[in-house]
């Protein structure tokens, strides 16, 4: 019973992780960098949505404002920070740059919205997803919001999978991921592909954050939370692979919820990192990543 319940809640939370991980994986595919500021960017989007509905905009407009704001921030980040930093990939300077960006965003957000924890009730996501209703399956009872989160996440994942596999943008992303140089020789604008990837990742992240908002309080610390969970899920699934990110998110969500049956709630984040480290040691390429020994 308990395990079935954990499975359903895990899949619901995991769908959100999956969308965030997709963004990190997409950015990695096009820029070869792990975006340590992804969660901070999308959290700004969530705050913007809340602010918009606070000023009595209807909630769909609030969501549009939040997503648009995140996209804008993502694009600015790509243009202003990533392009110069990419000249020194793998170096500590690069890593520090991103961590600094993340903490600048967090601190600026704290200036604007304070350290308070806001309820996202006014956005109306929770009530429309049935946060107050429960679903009964046999003897198992769970809030229906997790089922709807999973369904909504799945719909988006299918759409994203089609985007990556069937469209010109998707082909460009896959080409750049395979080899930036070759893609550029084939006439693909790798810089623009990267900027679009950042925008898409940030917008999707904001949607994921808004989906998640009924389950928690919205506060600035949420940024680091999303970054860590997204990075963990993306690496567990296999960086650079869309389906890997989806699988990684779902796996991480379920593992966390199942673990909660056995350990205290305070340890869930530690468990996410434990799984991440295990994957890095045992199979660094992740679940869906391919390990191929290269000749040179």
């Amino acid at each position: 019973m308990q395990h079935l319940q954990a499975l359903v809640t895990g899949l619901g939370v995991g769908a959100v992780y999956a969308l965030i991980a997709f963004g990190i994986s997409l950015v990695y595919a096009t820029s070869r960098t792990l975006n340590f500021a992804h969660g901070e960017v999308l959290t700004v989007g969530v705050f913007l949505s809340l602010t918009a509905v606070y000023f009595n905009l209807p909630s769909w407009q609030g969501i549009v404002v939040g997503v648009a704001g995140a996209v804008l921030l993502g694009v600015v980040l790509a243009k202003v920070v990533f392009t110069p930093l990419r000249r020194a990939p793998e170096s500590l300077a690069w890593l520090l740059g991103l961590l600094i960006v993340a903490s600048v965003i967090t601190n600026a957000s704290a200036r604007i919205w304070g350290q308070r924890a806001y309820s996202a009730e006014k956005l109306g996501i929770g009530s429309s997803l049935g946060a107050d209703n429960v679903v009964r399956w046999g003897g198992v009872v769970f809030p229906s919001i997790y089922v709807w989160l999973f369904v909504a996440g799945l719909v988006l994942m299918v759409a994203l999978d089609l985007l990556i596999r069937r469209t010109a943008f998707g082909r460009a992303v896959r080409a750049v991921a395979h080899s930036r140089r070759t893609a550029s020789l084939m006439g693909i604008d790798t810089e623009r592909t990267m900027v679009y990837a950042f925008g898409l990742a940030a917008g999707l992240g904001a949607i994921a954050g808004i989906m998640f908002s009924p389950l928690t309080f919205v506060q600035v610390q949420l940024g680091a939370f999303f970054t860590f969970k997204g990075l963990a899920a993306a690496v567990i699934g296999g960086l650079g692979s869309a389906r890997g990110a989806f699988l990684g998110g779902l796996v991480l969500g379920v593992v966390e919820q199942v673990a909660l049956i056995y350990v205290r709630a305070g340890y869930t984040d530690a468990i996410a990192f434990g799984v991440l480290i295990l994957v890095l040691v045992v199979r660094p390429a992740g679940i869906m990543g391919r390990v191929v020994e290269e000749r040179h």
């Binding site: 500590l92 520090l96 903490s103 020994e293």
Partner: protein, 595 residues
Amino acid sequence: MTPDARRRLWFAALLLLPFVFRDELSRFALARVGAFAIAATGVAVVSGLAGQISLGHAGLMAAGAFTSAGLAVHAGWPFAAAFVAGTALAALVGVAFGIPSLRVRGQYLALATLGGGFIIWQILREASSLTGGDGGFASIPPPSLFGRSLGPLGAASLAMTLAAITLFAAGNLERSRAGRAFRAVRDSEAGAAASGISVYRAKLGGFVASAAIAGAAGALFAHTEGFIAPSQFDPSISFLLVLAAVLGGLSSPYGGALGALLILGPSELFPSAFSWLERYQIIAWGPVALLVVFRWPDGVVGGLKRLVGRLRAGRGTGVTRETERTVAPETPVVPPVTVVSPGVTLLVVRGVTKSFGGLRALHDVSLEVGAGTIHALIGPNGSGKTTLLDCLTGARRSDAGEVTLQGRRIDALPPHEIASLGVARTFQQVALFGTMTATENVLAGAHPRLRGGLGAGALGLRRGDDSNAEHDARAILAAVGLAGLEKDKAVALSYGQRKRLELARALALRPSLLLLDEPAAGRNEPEILELGRFLKRLRSAGLTILLVEHHMNFVLSLADVVTVLDEGRVVAHGDPRTVRADPAVVEAYLGAGVA
């Protein structure tokens, strides 16, 4: 004054700092800054010297702090014992921290160490029966020595003494055999392994040494503060430590401490003037650090060094170094090699097969190399020559077949062990230790022959053979034509000079078998002739050489035996003249227009 003496003077000056600040609060603040300077030196050791990113050092500091505090508060341990226990436990945790570095590097390692620090932080918060939870430990006894607890002046002096000792040890370590191994692994793992350096031992050693330093810093912090809580060791403190190390300069073991002093010094030591800084530490210093790093890639220490150098040059007191940049006159000197009695078959390769995915790079390759001969391995591009060298040296594992060296199976050994058995190699694409000087590169090549581990390195114990080794290194450099370039960094050398340096590094191992991958590349005709004469002298001295080369005249004039590979198979074998006439060879290789 020698650089060593000047360094000691600086460390002694640290001990005077507690007397400069007269009030108690400043002295406690000084102890705090000292603790963070020590912890940042830990980051400098693992990320600077050993080149392994760590974003979890606050966790290691916490391991030392909570262990020491717990033992003192709950078990009544005296300060010194609790301090040592905290340091030791942190070193142990450092082993766990280092394990992911054996599999991943760069961004992935950053993520793994971030996770490690995060897990420790959560355990501290949740395991409250042991750690006091979010409230932490209060009323930790102050540090005491010989039964007397130390006041503010004593605490600050203790912190400064420990900081001086740490810096002294880190500086010694950098120049020791163990430190050279760290730096070699940082610059080129393939080159390090081929020089007989165990890559995994160097990485774990770097993490353990660094963790011990961070743990000691944590233990010191716990006792001088008297109160610790998990929030003092959250992931942002790890970022702060990395920031300090990068700002100070990763190329120097002292960079971390200097960075910590720059970041924390103003707000801690002069709170009335700089209290506003405290709230903006990462934000204010982040962009500054980035600017410094982009302008001065080696941080403030590197920038200061250049500044001092320029000032001295301006005053005209600096010694201008005479460098002999031309090709050194041919010297009859031949570096010592390990001689195997001639006539013996030194290396036997039987049925070695290697595939990459669906591509079969080597197919059932067999050959024998007789002691004291020059054996050439030729074949068109992509015929598997370099792959075969990789399989012989353990850089790659073959799928099937066996390799024996003097009757001993070596195909299952890791590369550094094969190197330690006397198999040296050079690489097609030079795998030198770029940031190390020519002499240091050669000394690293002699790694298996020298002695001295981490502890000896930190204490600065120089054994007799170490100074002999330096003398030998200079002789080898002269023999390959690099006299006068001993102190130049490998990256600053020309392509041809780098090829020579790699040869020198390989010879430093005193090999019995030398594998050369295209040694003539990057040399002009006179230099190729000179190389040929040099290799012949090595052969006369008893060295066995397996040579991969494209330059046909060079090969034919030099080799005793030639093996021809084509598409991963041996297509011909014999003395140079026979091989040259072989129709299969003409078709596979020489037919391409070389003949």
